[in-house]
Amino acid sequence: MAEARVIPLHGADREAPRRRRGAAQVRAHAAAQHSQPPQPSESPREQEQAQGQLHEPVSAEPAPWERHLADLLNFARRRIQGDYEVDEFGFDPDLTDHILMPPLKPLYEKWFRVETIGMHNVPGEGGALIVANHSGTLPLDATMTAFAVRADHPKRRHLRMLGADLVFKTPVLGALARKSGQTLACNPDAERLLSSGELVGVWPEGFKGIGKPFKDRYKLQRFGRGGFVSAALNTGVPIIPCSIVGAEEIYPKIGDIKALARLFGFPYFPVTPFFPFLGPLGAIPLPSKWYIEFGEPIRTDVHGPNAADDPMLVFNLTDQVRETIQQTLYRLLTQRRNVFLG
């Protein structure tokens, strides 16, 4: 890790030609290969249905809407009786798949038309740390990445995100964040998740990244203190750099009302061309076209034990991840012709 790395501006040879056409194919291919629709709640039902058709005569087969109704009633009864499992972080997969994820589907498919690239770089099992750039005033990029991993990954994994302490301090939001699988961004939690084989997502720029002014778009901010690298080193899991293009344009932050931010205890109070002038209408995100690219995994199990105690190695790895994301962002941006059409 001592020598400087040169990362070509126009990407690896195999990436460039197939990106525009290929990305869509990758998604279609993944879906076809595993014959699972991207919508989380549909899958078990449809599998059941397929099995049912094999064993029963066609006339006794309930209509799809009945299946749906049975599913819904079953879910409602489970919720009323508290008959579901929650893990030690407060993650409630039942609620996440049935209530929290479905509303994101239209946003993901129709509004932002998210294209994922390099989903094969996300391992199907075992711990891995996805590190991504943060932008867009509201953390929609994080929720979209989580949805992408859940819907488009062949193993349909849950992304366990690490959130700022402000999230967990806030009523309602904090409880909801825990139920959706998030936990506080601190090393004990990250290492516990990673060593139990979870896929963890972190946005190390934090508020500096998500709340940066529109003129600084796609300029990566400082990557915290590299805590995420030491967590990965301690657990020996790969780091997957993730570059998100499109999230910067959803709420172009052109101003910041400091007084209001202080009043509400927010890190910033954004002013966009439409917010707060258009009131709630201004809170609708602009329909930019998104690309989420998962880069090649960076191995961390080759540095031997106690590698996390070597600050130089931690700094170098942090820089390597940061540079990879920055260069991928530049490459994706040069290939993008239009913010809204892609």
């Binding site: 309930p62 919720r79 508290g82 929650v86 972080f89 409630d92 506080l184 004990p188």
Partner: protein, 345 residues
Amino acid sequence: MAPKVVLVTGCSRFLGGHLAARFAANPDIERVLGVDTEPPSRDLLRRMGRAEFVRADIRNPLIAKVIATAQVDTVVHASVTANPAGPTGRTVMKEMNVIGTMQLLAACQKSPHVRKLVVKSTSAVYGSSSRDPAVFTEDMGPKDLPSSGYAKDAVEVEGYVRGFARRRPDVDVTALRFTNFIGPRIDTVLTRYFALPVVPTVLGYDARVQLLHSEDALAVLERATLHDLPGVYNVGGDGVLLLSQAIRRAGRVALPVPSAAVPMMGRFFRSARLVDFSPDQMRFLNWGRVVDTTLLKREFGFTPRWTTQQAFDDYVSGRALRPLIDPELLTSVERGVLDLAAKLR
């Protein structure tokens, strides 16, 4: 080394009493002494069998005489409690917890016969806040020190216990940090709380609750007494229940109260003598607390028989809590709707 003479504090309460009963049933132990300020209930006294009850206040130096004359070699300090005796019992509770522990430790330090000390502590020493990691291990401390109530008592008690361990390195000291107890027989703040027909919760928060079955708690205390297992251990059942989930499992109805109104609510429940929540326990209702029990399983050698969920279900069925919404009604509604749907087809 098996203990010969065991002294159990707080033997009028559930844990101390049943622990003394277990030791009394153990033929290897020569003598069992139970200490408390008030005599145990008749039922408990009958269970305790050959165990001797000593009516003494551990805040009083008299306890030193008891320990010295009976040549006690093992002291089980199980009287540190979160449940005050009455609406005015909070000051008394603090005195019993902190001053009582100081006196007891002073007595132990003086007696050359004492070989082992087992302290019932609590996971409340980790505090409860939004900035805490999700799971506490034994080496973590609280983010902000509890400023009052039971949690502060427990932090101080543990401080004195550490001091004692430093001054008497020949004594094996085991501190057990228990999560909240639950079970059909035990009576705690939490068992009363879940028995309320309408359970007040804090609006916008959902605590992660880890519970320990009271029988598991007894087994852990017994194991710590009979074997030499010095150290600090977290003790809790596997798994987690969300507060809202627990209320649903008990068939109760949650009543979310805005944070601002929570202290008022607490005062109401205290004056109505329903549930006596201290401020630090109210914070627990916001965020809850989960501890890591790897050390308990690997080094202490104990795996709780009940998971959090099983322990809670045992409590619900043992107390015969009648759910407000009948589960059979739910199933029949579900079936009815589906039958209707089948007819419509």
